[in-house]
């Protein structure tokens, strides 16, 4: 039976994906932490596997690899499992972890409380669809389309925010004209200041400790002397206590906290300078120069994309033809090339979709790793990994929705059929809006930071 055979093939590839996801998790994401909850790792691996399966099925659709019926079957299976994980399993797990990590609730309350919060989350999730024009009265409450439409909104938002930020940030970090030159002597100067501050903190802390000890000693002596006879009182008169041993302890403490704050400022400034110097050195290498060159192209692309998004929104324009077919049209009509459209469109689609999928997965995983190392702590590492799995699931589902636009009409059928009758144009419009917002915000923030760096000079 061909379904069985095809299923074996798909299952094999799924095992490969699961292994890849597992290795990524252990080697890169969870590098500094010991794994105790295997459930978290399994959830992450399953999410990754299902996402990769969906992309793989798209590619199979383009090259027409497996039997059509089995493709559809696996599509439905992956989609249902994915939706189950993203809407039901992971949020429940998240709430459970959050509540059990915070110390406010006693242990036996955690489970029913997390169930209650999860129900509230489901209610919110439903309400999410109201302000957007995605509700189709034909579909019921619990159908796949309603779920996918809502998940799609969230996913597309995340995608657009990330692309907007990435498109602006990449030229800024790799192009040399934005980098400031930092001299070695400047860094040494700040280092010396930091060391002096640390020495001052040490001296003041020693003085505080000595003063406290002295105060203790005098207090004990005073207690002693209260019960003494006339001989002890004579002794007290003749002993000479050197003055000036009483220091103003609260004033010293204030000084110390001010100095500690200063040392932190100096440290952060030193770190900024050192990072800038390392970037300068890197930009002088071959790799740096290559990235700098690419940066110019990328900034062009970024400006063009912002312009096109604005045009799309203002003129309410929705592209109907995908870039591949359009490219073919231009090649045939304008350049008069005699090419076999069907053959080439299939291969180019395959190449384009493959490239998009691979770069997106890689980009998302890299971003996740960086975000994770920046923000995680031993207590919250499980929670953050689950959050990342959730985001990854939503991201990949919406990528499938958006990718439909990039494929020629004959390949769009599988996505349209499986995902149902969604308002695909809305998602593109929403992506444009969020991309614009994100890019402009990033430009604003980066220019503020850049100006602040130049001011002290």
């Amino acid at each position: 039976m061909s379904l069985g055979l095809d299923s074996c093939v798909v299952l094999l590839t799924q095992c490969v994906f699961f292994l890849l996801g597992w290795m990524f998790f252990v080697r890169h994401l969870f590098r500094d932490y010991e794994l105790r909850h295997y459930g978290v790792q399994i959830v992450f691996g399953l999410n990754f596997t299902l996402s990769c399966t969906m992309f793989e099925l798209i590619i199979f659709e383009i090259v027409d690899y497996l039997d059509k019926a089995s493709r559809y079957f696996h599509w439905y299976l992956s989609l249902y499992l994915m939706l189950f994980m993203v809407i039901i399993l992971i949020p429940f797990y998240l709430v459970y972890f959050f509540l059990s990590n915070s110390r406010h609730f006693p242990a036996h309350w955690v489970r029913p409380l997390s169930f209650g919060v999860w129900l509230a989350y489901i209610g919110l999730f439903w309400k999410l669809g109201d302000p957007f024009p995605i509700h189709n009265p034909k579909h019921g409450m619990l159908s796949v389309e309603t779920c996918v439409s809502r998940v799609g909104v969230i996913g597309v938002t995340i995608m657009a925010l990330l692309s907007g930020f990435g498109a602006v940030n990449y030229p800024y970090t790799s192009m040399a004209i934005f980098m400031r030159s930092v001299t070695h002597s400047h860094i040494q100067h700040i280092e010396r200041k930091l060391q002096q501050t640390m020495d001052m903190i040490t001296t003041k802390k020693k003085r505080i400790l000595m003063a406290e000890r002295e105060a203790e000693r005098q207090k004990r002596q005073a207690q002693h002397e209260q019960g003494g006879g006339w001989w002890d009182r004579m002794k007290k008169l003749s002993t000479y206590t050197p003055p000036g041993s009483l220091e103003n302890i609260p004033l010293l403490r204030q000084d110390v906290s001010a100095l500690e704050e200063l040392s932190r400022h100096l440290f952060v400034e030193l770190q900024d300078l050192q990072t800038m110097r390392e970037r300068n050195e890197w930009s002088r290498t071959w790799q740096g120069q290559y990235f700098n060159f690419l940066g110019y192209f990328f900034s062009m692309y970024c400006i063009w994309k912002i312009f096109i998004s604005t045009v799309n929104i203002v003129f309410d324009r929705v592209g109907r033809v995908d870039p591949i077919t359009k490219g073919m049209e231009i090649a045939v009509h304008w350049f008069g090339l005699n090419i076999d459209v069907v053959f080439w469109s299939q291969h180019i689609s395959f190449g384009l979709v493959g490239a998009i999928v691979v770069t997106s997965i890689r980009g998302l995983l890299l971003t996740m790793t960086r975000f994770f190392t920046w923000i995680s702590s031993p207590k919250s590492s499980n929670f953050i990994v689950l959050l990342l799995s959730q985001i990854m699931g939503m991201y990949f589902i919406s990528m499938v929705i958006l990718m439909r636009m990039n494929m020629p009409v004959q390949y769009r059928t599988i996505i349209t059929e499986v995902l149902g009758d969604l308002q695909f144009n809305f998602y593109h419009r929403w992506f444009d809006v969020m991309f614009l917002v994100s890019a402009l915000c990033t430009i604003g923030i980066l220019s503020l930071l850049h100006k602040r760096e130049f001011e002290p000079n």
Binding site: R31, D32, L194, M198, T202, M210, L266, F267, L270, P378
Partner: protein, 225 residues
């Protein structure tokens, strides 16, 4: 007794972010657990008066300065500022997280490489995590070390074996003393407890090395600690 008449030794406290270095240093310096826990940016300094060879005729008071260096990854290119002029190192790991123990070798290597100002060198000590404990030659260390495992209360909830039976790899490697304690419990460093004795011995060793053993420095260099 003024501050300038006493000699001082400087002890560095190293370890991954979040293992409990600041709590440990606060406990050692003040005898009380730290209440407000937050991530250390840069470094924090605490001081303590220590009686060298207490109870013997050669008893002297020394200042011990603890330099607790923040362990976040992002700050690794500037940390070397604090490594100068160090007489002893306390390596801290989290008993409930085995990975933090494996990273201690990287911390040691980063400290020994502090002389080189090459950023790439510092990067490479951290990137290759996977076989790092297998094919590494024991680094030549001539500074007294002490290994401390924290969060003993958390770890003993989850492990089956009693922890005091396990010695960490790095303590075996460098033949150092090892302490396991709970930084939130002030009884851990009460006078007379085993942790407190080991700490006193370590401080004495550091002071010894710095002030009393200058002439036998050649002998200690021959011996790989």
């Amino acid at each position: 007794m003024s501050t300038t008449t006493l000699d001082r030794v400087r002890i560095l406290v190293l370890g991954d972010s979040g293992v409990g270095k600041s709590s440990l240093v606060h406990l050692m310096a003040y005898g009380q657990p730290l209440q407000q826990i937050s991530y250390t940016i840069g470094a924090a300094i605490e001081v303590k008066l220590h009686e060298y060879k207490e109870g013997t005729p050669t008893q002297r008071t020394f200042w011990i300065e603890f330099c607790d260096v923040g362990g976040t990854h992002a700050h690794r290119n500037v940390r070397h500022v604090f490594y100068a002029n160090t007489h002893g190192i306390i390596l801290v790991h989290d008993l409930s997280n085995k990975k933090s123990q494996g990273n201690l070798t990287n911390w040691l290597r980063e400290f020994m490489d502090r002389e080189s100002g090459n950023a790439k060198l510092r990067e490479s000590t951290w990137e290759d995590q996977s076989g790092s404990s297998d094919h590494l030659d024991t680094i030549d260390v001539n500074i007294p070390l002490l290994v401390v495992g924290t969060k003993q209360d958390v770890a003993s909830e989850t492990h089956a074996l009693p922890l005091h039976q396990k010695r960490s790899f790095i303590a075996e490697e460098y033949l150092t003393e090892e302490i396991q304690l709970n930084c939130q419990d002030e009884r851990s460093v009460m006078a007379g407890s085993s942790a407190s004795n080991k700490l006193c011995r370590f401080f004495d060793k550091v002071i010894d090395k710095q002030f009393y053993r200058r002439d036998v420095k050649a002998a200690s260099e021959r011996r790989r600690l």
